[in-house]
């Protein structure tokens, strides 16, 4: 639908395409073969797993599905996942905007190093990310001992899960914003300043609206990862049922209890979240093209 709209509004785009010389187009057979190959690949690797989750989730009927999701353990896992995301996402939102601003709007020595540092958690294996916090807050570390003496729990409790999740998802907002900000440049901001706006006024009236779609997508991606993180959380969780198991960990537990349908039922919630993420992204892209 948006595709057709686009064409309708700008017929110029389609004309040269249909009027292209034969040299600039593949023969129909090659074209079909290429499309076929691409679709086959995507079908095998993307569509099939997606379908499998839902097929397996409903394999034992709606009753099992509903029971799996209303189980107290499942509800506790869903709650923990929501709480974690509700803490992590706003924090990383603020960090992401600040980080993108500091890297994209200024030039100075060490800017590339800083960009790499911002990206770093993205390349750290999730397992290692979890390990970091065990090394820092574990009962055998100095800090961990001090915390234990003061009866503060970090790992194997909510704070540890939040920290590990925040670490893993830290770069998402900044990654979306940096290229956007650099591409957009600072001319409007400079104009606003010349007209006498204060720094905050400029940021609120000019910069935020300019970056809002990129920001939204960054937040959505950050949220999806925060809710879905497995490796890092698995290391710091302690797997206490109904207390420190997030949804992905609950999926693993069910999977190991011969409750395959229930495991896939919880997985299907996470998959729905992924689908919503994709829809938001499509809307964002469409709005930016407008």
């Amino acid at each position: 639908m948006p595709d057709r709209l686009l064409r309708f509004r700008r017929p110029a785009v389609t004309v040269p395409e249909s009027g292209r010389s034969r040299h600039l187009d593949e023969p129909p057979l090659v074209r079909a073969a290429l499309i076929g190959a691409a679709l086959l690949f995507l079908g095998l690797f993307l569509v099939l797993p997606l379908v499998t989750v839902f097929v397996e989730a409903f394999a034992k009927g709606l009753g099992t599905y509903a029971a799996a999701l209303s189980d107290p353990m499942a509800r506790a896992a869903i709650r923990l996942t929501l709480v974690t995301a509700a803490i992590v996402v706003p924090v990383n939102l603020v960090f992401g905007v600040a980080a993108a601003w500091s890297v994209a709007k200024f030039d100075y020595r060490g800017r590339h190093l800083l960009t790499t540092l911002i990206d770093l958690p993205f390349s750290v294996s999730p397992v290692v990310s979890g390990l970091l916090f065990v090394l820092l807050f574990g009962a055998n570390a100095a800090l961990g001992r001090w915390l234990a003496d003061h009866d503060l729990k970090v790992i194997f409790a909510l704070p540890g899960i939040v920290l590990a999740t925040a670490f893993v998802t830290a770069p998402f907002v900044a990654r979306e914003l940096i290229p956007l900000m650099r591409a957009q440049g600072s001319d409007e901001e400079l104009a606003a300043l010349t007209l006498g706006a204060s720094g905050w006024q400029m940021f609120r009236r000019i910069s935020l609206p300019k970056m809002k779609w990129g920001l939204l997508f960054g937040v959505v991606l950050c949220n999806a990862r925060a809710m879905g993180e497995f490796g890092a959380v698995s290391v710091v969780s302690g797997h206490i049922r109904g207390e420190t198991t997030t949804m992905p960990l609950h999926v693993e537990i069910l999977y190991n209890e011969y409750q395959l349908a229930a495991a896939f039922a919880v997985a299907s919630l996470l998959t729905l979240l992924a689908v919503v993420t994709l829809v938001v992204k499509a809307v964002v892209e469409w709005r930016t093209h407008e």
């Binding site: 948006p2 010389s21 040299h23 600039l24 074209r31 499309i35 691409a38 995507l42 993307l46 797993p49 997606l50 499998t52 600040a98 980080a99 601003w101 500091s102 709007k105 200024f106 100075y108 590339h112 790499t116 540092l117 911002i118 990206d119 770093l120 958690p121 390349s123 750290v124 294996s125 999730p126 397992v127 290692v128 990310s129 390990l131 090394l135 925040a166 830290a170 440049g185 600072s186 001319d187 901001e189 400079l190 300043l193 940021f203 991606l221 999806a224 879905g228 497995f230 490796g231 949804m247 992905p248 495991a263 896939f264 997985a267 996470l270 992924a274 994709l278 829809v279 992204k281 499509a282």
Partner: protein, 278 residues
């Protein structure tokens, strides 16, 4: 936009934004990472070396790097194809498929892991047909490649697509008017134009594949020396009360990823500078 801001540039907020950034990075990233470095210095050089160069560790690097490389290569080829098909051809469902490409970014890795295992194990939708043909995917190194291909799928597609979209039509037309065949145009004109972006996607997919854990442990056989990835080895070392060994291997792995990422950012920066200069 021609005049790049000199030094820092005239915009406000440098102090605040970099303050927040450095404070957060310091607390959340640098302090935890420094414990990794400190933790491994406690080991002593000989112990450190024997932990990171043990045959089992070496085998796991080989698998992790090999499988990530192979998956990234598959994604390089298929990513170029998919980007091409999505940008150049019109067919029903194109927008939907375009949107679906990002699925691996959004889908939790554990969910991907159990779904892929279900599909490729011997009773699964695809495994059922591969098994009689003598091809085993689930619980073999090939399974690792499949999982990593899934995880890294969007990278090349998403880096190549914008370049392909912005490619001036004149380029191809000029080549055609000079008598080049379609195949020559693809080889001599298109591929060189797309290659830098594709390589960026390739490196990103590779880096992601190296560290991946959640989706792999379900589908890999996890056999030492054969289908045990490095992140799993780190986990197992931990569970064997060998924190030192786990720390050492984790550090080596981390430095490798960091170096790769830094090189990539430099490459991107150079290209950006190029583009501005042109």
């Amino acid at each position: 936009m021609r005049a790049r801001p000199r030094r820092r540039g005239p915009l406000p907020g440098f102090g605040l934004s970099i303050g927040v950034t450095l404070a957060y990075l310091g607390l959340m990233v640098m302090i935890p990472l420094s414990t990794l470095v400190l933790g491994s210095t406690r080991l002593g050089l000989a112990e450190f070396w024997s932990a990171v160069s043990a045959p089992r560790a070496l085998a796991s690097y080989r698998l992790s790097i090999g499988a990530a490389l192979l998956a990234a290569l598959v994604n390089l080829g298929m990513g170029l194809l998919v980007a091409w098909v999505l940008e150049r051809y019109r067919f029903p469902g194109r927008r939907l498929i375009d949107g679906l490409v990002d699925l691996p970014f959004a889908l939790p890795t554990a969910v991907a892991g159990i779904a892929l295992t279900t599909i490729y194990s011997s009773g699964g939708v695809i495994g059922r047909f591969l098994e009689p043909a003598g091809i085993k995917v689930a619980y073999t190194p090939l399974g690792v490649v499949v999982a990593l291909t899934f995880v890294g799928l969007p990278f090349v597609v998403r880096t190549v697509q914008p370049v392909l979209r912005d490619l001036p039509a004149e380029l191809e037309e000029a080549a055609a008017s000079l008598g080049a065949s379609r195949l020559q145009i693809v080889r001599r004109v298109l591929i060189p134009e797309l290659l830098p972006a594709a390589l960026t996607g390739f490196v990103l997919a590779f880096a992601r594949g190296l560290g991946e854990y959640g989706s792999v442990i379900f589908i890999a056989g996890n056999m030492p020396m054969r289908s045990e990835i490095t992140p799993l080895l780190i986990m197992i070392k931990l569970e064997q009360y060998d924190t030192g060994g786990a720390t050492a291997i984790a550090l080596v792995f981390l430095l490798a990823s960091f170096a790769m990422l830094f090189a990539l950012n430099r490459l991107a920066a150079r290209r950006e500078a190029h583009a501005v200069g042109a």
